[in-house]
């Protein structure tokens, strides 16, 4: 059996990194982000990265770490409002941003991973997002052409994974991870739990191993909470 499991993040990323590369990352906000692999990217010193990720983390966590070190040259994201350093770098022209509506971003990653180079959507028609893009009328309504995304590398976070690279995500930490996993030329997954072959229920696998080339046991599972909202007592 092909050995997909690597002992640590640097070895899982070995030979995959180069300056100017495109990296797709799973996660929504700070939920379901590949914390271990992001730290390894920081340590690698790879620069000029185009990061495809719904959000940009916060100043000192998630992709925010790679912004701080100026390793990211461009972000393809839907929302970056939580990151002050991002806003500063963007407004001073140090960082390029391609805003992409959230659903369009998810679909662009899904399409890229499924071998679909482009698709039409109603989202963004009549806005800045559609400027310079081809449009087409279907049944009397205008749709805009959006491109599928294929990344040089995809990094994802899963709850459980087995040696074949089959992955199961947990609750809302699933988010962009399944699409990110499909759109990488190489996909590296970090998992909270490594389980033995056969332990995952085949009907319950979210991402089959065909999409995952390398796998590590996550060592960073801080799972920082952005908005800790609490109700006083049980209702």
């Amino acid at each position: 059996m092909v050995q997909k499991i690597h002992p640590d993040a640097p070895s899982a990323l070995a030979g995959l990194l180069f300056d100017g590369m495109t990296i797709a990352a799973g996660g929504f906000g700070l939920c379901g982000i590949p914390e271990t692999l992001i730290q390894a990217l920081v340590d690698s010193g790879t620069t000029g990265i185009t990061a495809v990720s719904n959000n940009a983390g916060v100043d000192d966590f998630g992709l925010g770490k790679l912004l701080r070190t100026r390793q990211i040259a461009k972000m393809v994201s839907s929302y970056v409002g939580e990151n002050k350093e991002f806003e500063r770098q963007y407004l001073t022209g140090e960082l390029e941003i391609e805003f992409c509506p959230q659903g369009t971003l998810a679909e662009r990653m899904r399409a890229g991973g499924a071998g679909i180079p482009g698709f039409y959507t109603r989202t963004g028609v009549g806005t800045l997002i559609a400027e310079g893009k081809e449009t087409k009328v279907f049944d009397g309504e205008t749709f805009v052409l959006e491109r599928g995304i294929v990344a040089d590398l995809a990094i994802v976070k899963a709850w459980k994974g087995d040696p074949y690279g089959n992955l199961v995500f947990r609750k809302s930490a699933r988010n962009f991870n399944p699409m990110a996993a499909t759109c990488g030329r190489v996909t590296v997954a970090e998992v909270e739990e490594l389980v033995a072959p056969g332990e995952l229920e085949p009907d319950q696998i979210h991402t089959p191993g065909v999409f995952v080339q390398r796998l590590i046991l996550a060592t960073h599972n801080e799972k920082r909470i952005e908005q800790r909202t609490i109700r006083k007592e049980a209702q």
Binding site: F28, G29, L30, C31, G32, N54, S77, S78, Y79, V80, G81, E82, E87, Y90, L91, I97, F99, P101, Q102, G103, T104, L105, A106, E107, M109, R110, T121, R122, T123, G124, V125, G126, T127, L128, I129, W159, F169, R170, K171, S172, A173, R174, N175, F176, N177, P178, M179, H206, K223, R224, I225, E226, Q227, R228, T229, I230, R231, K232, E233, Q235
Partner: protein, 214 residues
């Protein structure tokens, strides 16, 4: 007296119908969940991939893997399901969500909505708002009637970059409710907050509309 934020949220909640699947935007729209009438069964959707949102957790229930689109910790219900972001926006873009309540910086009399960007100043991004207005069946905007400088937010045309063109069906402000029967029609002024006059609303509104009180 103008409506409070909670009163505005309650007015929006009155638009919910039994069996609706609903997406609530971040900010005041989130408050709508607190005002759903007994006997009205509504399933809340969050675009990060959760269908069937429960209330905020108790301290003991907090789970970092259960959040809504506002990145707030939340709980599950017996009906909850999780999906990927692509499937979540399939629900939204595919027209399977009946209603969305969103905030706005500007709304135009033709239903254009601007709520994602102030050029040169605010660069947060559209998030899921563009997908919501493009795909959800009915869009209600909750906003203050005027901005912090006192300028009208319901305008002839939006001055800010659009989130969507001709997408708003109803506007609930702290002063009044505007609604239109369909997206080919003009907005109608349907209701005034207590003690607010039609003339006051006229003076604080740039958009053209007709008065047709409910």
């Amino acid at each position: 007296m103008p409506w409070t934020r909670d009163e505005m949220a309650a007015l929006a909640a009155a638009e919910l119908q039994d069996g609706f699947y609903v997406n609530l935007g971040i900010g005041i729209p989130t408050l709508v969940a607190n005002h759903i009438a007994p006997g009205i069964d509504v399933t809340l959707q969050s675009e990060n991939g959760m269908l069937g949102l429960g209330p905020f957790p108790t301290e003991a229930e907090v789970d970092a893997d259960i959040i809504n689109a506002g990145k707030q910790t939340i709980t599950e219900l017996d009906r909850t399901s999780y999906v990927s972001s692509a499937d979540s926006f399939g629900m939204i873009r595919g027209g399977h969500i009946q209603l969305s309540v969103l905030g706005a910086m500007e709304v135009a009399e033709n239903g254009d909505l601007a709520n994602w960007m102030v050029p040169g100043k605010m660069v947060k991004g559209p998030g899921g708002a563009m997908d919501l207005v493009a795909g959800v069946q009915r869009i209600i905007v909750l906003m203050d009637h005027v901005d912090k400088q006192g300028a009208a937010k319901f305008r002839r045309g939006c001055t800010l970059p659009l989130t969507g063109a001709n997408v708003v069906d109803m506007i609930i402000t702290n002063l009044a409710i505007f609604e239109r029967p369909d997206r080919q029609s003009a907005f109608l002024l349907r209701r005034l907050a207590p003690g607010v006059t039609a003339q006051e609303v006229r003076d604080l509104t740039e958009a053209e509309y007709e008065e047709a009180f409910a």
